[in-house]
């Protein structure tokens, strides 16, 4: 897998400090790095951080203390880390520092399709754009060299198809490097604690670095196919380049197109910009997801791509889109690819028996949709949209601020405040939920916050959370309820959502308490997918009795994948059912009952 290849290269290049916050498609990099280090016996510090900003700052600091470091995240995580990125670029680094930001054109599992290369451009740091798992290994090496040559953070920007692509790669058995350095921090106040006067000097120095990197030979664009001078040329990077390369090799009609692979989209090489404009009649730029190379080549009369509307402005550049773009570019009629109109697709849903389903169902029961606003957040429970128990989500931590936002906005007409219920997962709460909770207490907002605590970061593959790590006495190192109380919340109850009736009572108590301020309910039950947690639920086998008339109420309101629609009577798929027994409380006709056998 591309992420494992990146991790292997990191360990081969002597990365000593590695941090990350999980996010698809980047999540496998950190554990794979740890695995390679264990395999080779390399000494390295590896940690899941509370969020991307903290991860960035810890790894960056290791680099200014002289150790090669890396931080990995998904593109929206880079938004969180961007504050540190912008300043880190000014101050620069000592040992090589790699910022891996994985983009998700499509998007397959992200809130946005944003292009991290633009963030590199804003920060004025170079970015490398791998087109395959194997080349990403080469780019890790190049990135460390570049970073140390110019004392600058370097971004590696793989996309989903690189991260989650797998390829045969010949690997020499990695060995732990013996030339291990000790971290040493050399004090230099004007650099590492620079005030605005010094920041201006640093900004000028950064500009000089970027100009030099625009002439750095190792990362120069590579000529992959040589066509006619004066004819058309294509400039591409990332997975779009991979799609393009196969197309040109397969279609004779495209053989005389000149093809360049851009290794470093920013800064685009000065000489290359001059050459390409001088030597070719027309230039097509194909890249994901935004026109980063194209902006730097902008010459409206010669350059074609996204800016003139030839390439769609959104979505993944699939081989079909790439082929038709090239056909249009060379004046051929586009091919008609028969793509069926979307049939009924299967939507993702919460797992059968998931504790979130029970929590969300209880919330709907206590706070009817017509009188309530449900703000939610980023995680598995976002799938509560299927249960119609999620009205909004914006970004990590947003559930709590949005609840405040609705409260204060609706509060302007004092008699018109709906019930507001925010839901947020445990890992998301730690990541970005604490400042908005303090803010809500201070601002006097009134709502119910349900922290869905399954003791893991579930959506991205069960990474740990601060509360899932235990101290020597077996208690969470950081307890959510103590954090909540520390934020100034006076009403905080813990309840088990599998005990649906008890949980509903707790929610009702929270509703009463929320008349005075923020009332918090921690819904605590382990994620069933997390093999690291003990599943000691009391299980119940259920069956459908003769009262079922197939009305579909349970399918709509509870949306469990183990409940199967059928023309006469709803069925239970026992291969899927996890025997949580919560559905016993769902059917208004009493058609779901405990199985006797």
């Amino acid at each position: 897998m591309g992420n494992e290849a990146i991790a292997l290269a990191l360990s081969q290049e002597g990365c000593r400090v590695a941090l990350a916050y999980p996010g698809t498609p980047s999540s496998e990099i950190l554990p794979a790095f740890k695995k390679w280090c264990e395999y080779t016996g390399a000494s390295a510090y590896v940690q899941w951080a509370i969020n991307e900003k903290v991860a960035f700052e810890i790894a960056y600091t290791a680099s200014i203390a002289g150790l090669r470091a890396m931080v990995a995240m998904k593109q929206v995580g880079l938004n969180v880390a961007s504050d540190a990125l912008m300043s880190g670029a000014y101050m620069g680094v000592k040992a090589g520092f790699l910022v891996i930001s994985a983009d998700d054109p499509g998007p397959h599992s992200s809130q946005t399709e944003q292009d991290s290369r633009f963030m590199a451009m804003i920060a004025k740091v170079p970015v490398l754009d791998p087109s395959s798992p194997s080349i990403s290994m080469e780019m890790v090496r190049m990135a460390y060299e570049l970073s140390e040559t110019y004392e600058i953070p370097v971004m590696l920007r793989p996309t989903t198809r690189v991260c989650h692509g797998s390829q045969d790669i010949a690997v020499v058995t990695p060995k732990a490097r013996q030339d291990l350095q000790k971290a040493v921090f050399h004090k230099e106040t004007s650099r590492w604690a620079s005030t605005p006067a010094f920041r201006l000097i640093q900004h000028r120095a950064l500009n000089e670095k970027i100009t030099k990197i625009g002439l750095y030979q190792d990362t120069r664009p590579r000529l992959l196919n040589s066509g006619k001078r004066g004819g058309p040329a294509i400039v591409s990077s990332g997975v779009a380049l991979a799609n393009l390369f196969d197309l040109i090799m397969e279609e004779k009609a495209f053989r005389d197109l000149t093809l360049y692979q851009v290794v470093q989209p920013y800064p685009l090489h000065r000489e290359f910009i001059n050459e390409i404009i001088r030597n070719f009649g027309s230039v097509l730029v194909i890249e994901e997801t935004s026109p980063v190379i194209e902006f730097q080549l902008a010459r409206a009369d010669k350059v074609r791509g996204r800016l003139d509307g030839l390439i769609p402005q959104a979505g993944e550049l699939t081989p079909e889109i790439v082929e038709n773009t090239v056909r249009s570019f060379v004046g051929l009629t586009p091919k008609a690819f028969s793509i069926p109109s979307k049939g009924p697709t299967r939507r993702p849903s919460l797992c059968p028996g998931c504790p979130h389903r029970a929590s969300l169902y209880a919330i709907k029961k206590v706070f009817p949709s017509s009188k309530s606003i449900y703000t939610s957040d980023i995680g598995c429970y976002t799938l509560g949209i299927n249960l119609k128990a999620v009205d909004t989500f914006i970004c990590m931590g947003g559930a709590i601020s949005q609840a405040s936002g609705f409260y204060h906005a609706c509060g302007l007409a004092a008699d018109d405040i709906p019930l507001i219920i925010a839901t947020i997962g445990d890992s998301t709460f730690f990541h970005a939920g604490i400042p908005p909770l303090i803010d809500a207490v201070v601002s006097g907002a009134r709502f119910v916050l349900v922290i869905l605590d399954n003791n893991t970061t579930a959506m991205t593959g069960n990474q740990p959370t601060p509360a899932s790590r235990l101290d020597e006495k077996g208690r969470p190192k950081v307890s959510i309820e103590r954090v909540v109380k520390g934020c100034g919340v006076t009403y905080c109850k813990v309840a088990n959502p599998y005990n649906l009736m008890g949980f509903i009572d707790t929610l009702k108590g929270a509703q009463r308490a929320s008349k005075k301020g923020v009332a918090v309910v921690i819904s605590r039950a382990p994620c069933l997918m997390d093999k690291g947690q003990k599943d000691d639920r009391k299980t119940t086998k259920v069956t459908i009795n003769e009262h079922c008339d197939g009305c579909g109420y349970c399918l709509r309101e509870f949306e469990c994948p183990a409940l199967i629609p059928s023309t006469k009577k709803t069925l239970i798929d026992y291969t899927l059912c996890n025997h949580c027994g919560v559905c016993l409380h769902v059917c208004p006709k009493g058609a779901i009952e405990v199985a006797t056998s």
Partner: protein
């Protein structure tokens, strides 16, 4: 040898593992291989697709109309991905029905039944792989880039030091291989 294989189905059917086994068979034969699969939301029961390209490709994705073989592990996903099949390709679909699509390039075999009969009901993925070598598939023109022996070798490598799991897997694979597609009991 160049071959493009698309596997489609839903989360939990072992599509990623199936892709790995095929890729490992390619590596054992010394063929370059690139695999691309969807992750993320798919892990919560959504559709999973794996593109496998054997023999010197750079692009990780199969272009519409160029797959040589499609394995549809869930029959409902076949109509959504059949457009990837090239005109001479073969689509193998897991279904007890005689046909799922009115498309002469597709063939249906019941992988759930075979997996169940081999006492390994979760091995629908391996049953499908075995079907690639069964008579009805071969009659239809399906030719995987490697032999059944190559697949067995890849499985042995995959399940090294997990003998019991290996034997259970091989039982499904071998049972699927000899599937003759005879449906008279059903039609009667």
């Amino acid at each position: 040898m160049r071959q493009q294989i698309l596997i489609c189905g839903v989360g939990g059917q072992g599509i990623v593992l199936l892709g790995r086994v095929i890729a490992e068979a390619a590596i054992l034969k010394g063929l370059p291989v690139i695999v691309s699969e969807t992750h993320g939301m798919a892990q919560r029961g959504g559709i999973v697709v794996s593109h496998i390209k054997v023999g010197g490709f750079i692009s990780p994705l199969i272009k519409v109309g160029s797959a040589d073989i499609i394995f549809a592990l869930k029959k409902e996903t076949l109509p959504q991905f059949i457009h990837y099949l090239r005109p001479e390709g073969v689509a193998l679909c897991n279904s007890p029905a005689e046909s799922v699509l009115n498309d002469i390039r597709s063939i249906c075999l019941d992988a759930e039944k075979t997996a169940r009969e081999a006492n390994n009901p979760k091995s629908v993925n391996i049953a499908m792989l075995g079907f690639a070598f069964a008579r009805p598939s071969v009659d239809k023109g399906l030719r995987l880039f490697c032999s059944d022996r190559d697949i067995e070798e890849a499985l042995v490598k995959r399940f090294v030091s997990k003998e019991e799991a290996l034997n259970r897997t091989l039982t499904v694979f071998n049972r699927a291989k000899i599937q003759d597609g005879d449906r008279e009991t059903k039609d009667a």
